[in-house]
């Protein structure tokens, strides 16, 4: 459902994403791993059509992102990094806005809102201004926005960032359940999350894919049999890179 071919992105001096190709099928949950600044967010932004690629192409549900941006965006639910929100709005007003932007009106809109409010446990804060919410609630409000139109494809940039252990567990369960009927890409720093949720993982370092396989395959490739050792053996941390 998601097909990325030879995708590259260069900013002024830096090559952020360098000739990346991969595919995600329906029913797959793809984990995106990599050190900070490896190009995970940039890749996700190109898939969602927020920024155009320097080279290569992305198609979602058979539609080219550059040629059919609006049609592609209809099919994607996206949780950006840091979960940006209109902080002056109430949760209810924000979800209503998101639903209407997705073309949901009347009874459809109310049903969609009820569904995501329940999924993301927002009942207790509906009337509250987003400004006054805790980080966990903000994150889930932004997640609710990504799910409101029940999209075929979900792109989640660090969906468990800033959540407490219980909330992390809930979001993971949610992703795993939704993964059965959707194509999902999510990025994370937490390696155990990959084992718990993903059907497949890609490790990116300095804009390139350095590993692609099931969590079991990746573990088998490290001598000690842990994902963390494998991750450390094929990526370099920021500090090491600075020194190099």
């Amino acid at each position: 459902m998601i097909k990325v071919e030879n995708l590259s992105k260069s900013f002024a001096q830096k090559r952020a994403v360098d000739d990346i190709s991969f595919e995600v099928a329906k029913g797959e949950v793809l984990g995106f791993l990599g050190p900070n600044g490896a190009g995970k967010s940039t890749t996700m932004r190109m898939i969602t059509g927020f920024i155009p690629p320097s080279a290569g192409r992305v198609s979602v549900c058979g539609l080219d992102v550059q040629e059919n941006p609006i049609e592609v965006k209809r099919r994607i639910g996206y949780l950006p990094e840091a979960a940006p929100l209109y902080t002056d709005m109430s949760v209810l007003a924000f979800l209503k806005f998101s639903a209407e932007m997705r073309g949901l009106h009347g009874e459809d809109r109310r049903n969609a809102m009820r569904r995501v409010v329940e999924l993301c446990h927002l009942e207790s804060v509906l009337g509250q201004t987003i400004d006054t919410l805790s980080k966990g609630f903000r994150h889930r409000t932004c997640l609710a926005q990504a799910l409101i139109h029940d999209p075929e494809v979900l792109i989640l940039d660090e969906p468990t960032d800033g959540l407490d252990p219980n909330q992390k567990h809930e979001v993971r369960t949610l992703i795993r359940e939704m993964g059965e009927s959707k194509a999902i890409i999510f990025s994370t720093h937490i390696l155990e999350e990959v084992e718990a949720v993903c059907t497949r993982a890609i490790i990116i370092d300095r804009g390139r894919i350095v590993a692609n396989g099931t969590p079991q395959e990746l573990k088998a490739r490290s001598g000690s049999g842990t994902l963390e050792d494998f991750f450390r053996s094929i990526t370099r941390s920021d500090t090491v890179r600075e020194a190099a």
Partner: protein, 252 residues
């Protein structure tokens, strides 16, 4: 700009609705309206000499508007895009199924409507003029049309400068400077000065680019299609430039 008008309108409306309620959900709208009404009243009745003029007209009110709007309209428009960039919500907005031009038009229309509401709230001045004398209400109506167009032109410029930066203060200052330039090229104390050493033909040609030149027509009660075209061109150009700025930023 693909898609029929029918398909384009819903996202524009949704964005405009959100933007308009953003004004009223924060104190911004009320502070703005109170300041606008106080200052316009002050200019009209003291500096404008509403009563001393000895005529039933709103000239005292409309004469000051280009200067009052010079500061108030950029203040109302400065947040339109800088705030989206500061909060990062621009990433949400442009990953929803909406074309950039629809978002630009939606935001502009919401702010413009807000400014028209502010203008409409000056109605007590119209009532006062009608109560005291017998003004030409046709001229007053055309004056209001001119004022709304003037606000639209300033606003479109503020929209453009707001897309340049995530800093609202910078957006505000840039907008004031650009709007001031649009005034000054036709401001008579300045053009008279220029006319001493430049050819009158040149001064007149430059003055054609001024908002004042085109605004004055409406205040005389003359609805000239060239004046209308001027304001529509300024708005269209500034909104188009906003689109270019936004596109270039996303391209990185």
């Amino acid at each position: 700009m693909s898609g029929g008008m029918k398909a384009s309108w819903p996202p524009i409306k949704t964005i405009a609705k959100r933007e308009l309620s953003a004004y009223f959900e924060s104190p911004v709208a009320y502070v703005f309206l109170v300041i606008f009404l106080l200052l316009s009243g002050f200019f009209t009745f003291t500096l404008g000499g509403f009563f001393e003029r000895g005529e039933a007209s709103l000239a005292a009110f409309f004469n000051w508007l280009p200067w009052l709007f010079l500061f108030l309209v950029p203040a109302a428009g400065m947040r339109l895009w800088s705030e989206e960039r500061r909060l990062g919500t621009i990433e949400l907005l442009f990953t929803m199924p909406v074309a950039p031009w629809q978002a630009i038009v939606g935001k502009f229309l919401a702010s413009w409507l807000f400014l028209v509401i502010a203008l409409a709230l000056s109605f007590p001045i119209v009532i006062t003029a009608n109560w005291l004398g017998d003004p030409d209400n046709g001229v007053i109506a055309s004056g209001y049309v001119g004022a709304a167009l003037l606000a639209g032109a300033y606003l479109a410029i503020a929209c453009m400068t707001s897309a340049f930066t995530r800093n609202q203060v910078v957006a505000f200052i840039l907008a004031v400077v650009l709007c001031l330039l649009l005034i000054l090229v036709g401001f008579s104390p300045l053009t008279d000065l220029l006319a001493r050493w430049a050819s009158p033909w040149l001064v007149e040609a430059v003055a054609k680019f001024s908002v004042l030149t085109h605004y004055d027509g409406f205040q005389k009660g003359v609805l000239d299609s060239r004046d209308l075209l001027y304001f529509i061109s300024v708005i269209a150009f500034a909104l188009f430039a906003t689109g270019v700025v936004i596109r270039n930023q996303r391209a990185g």
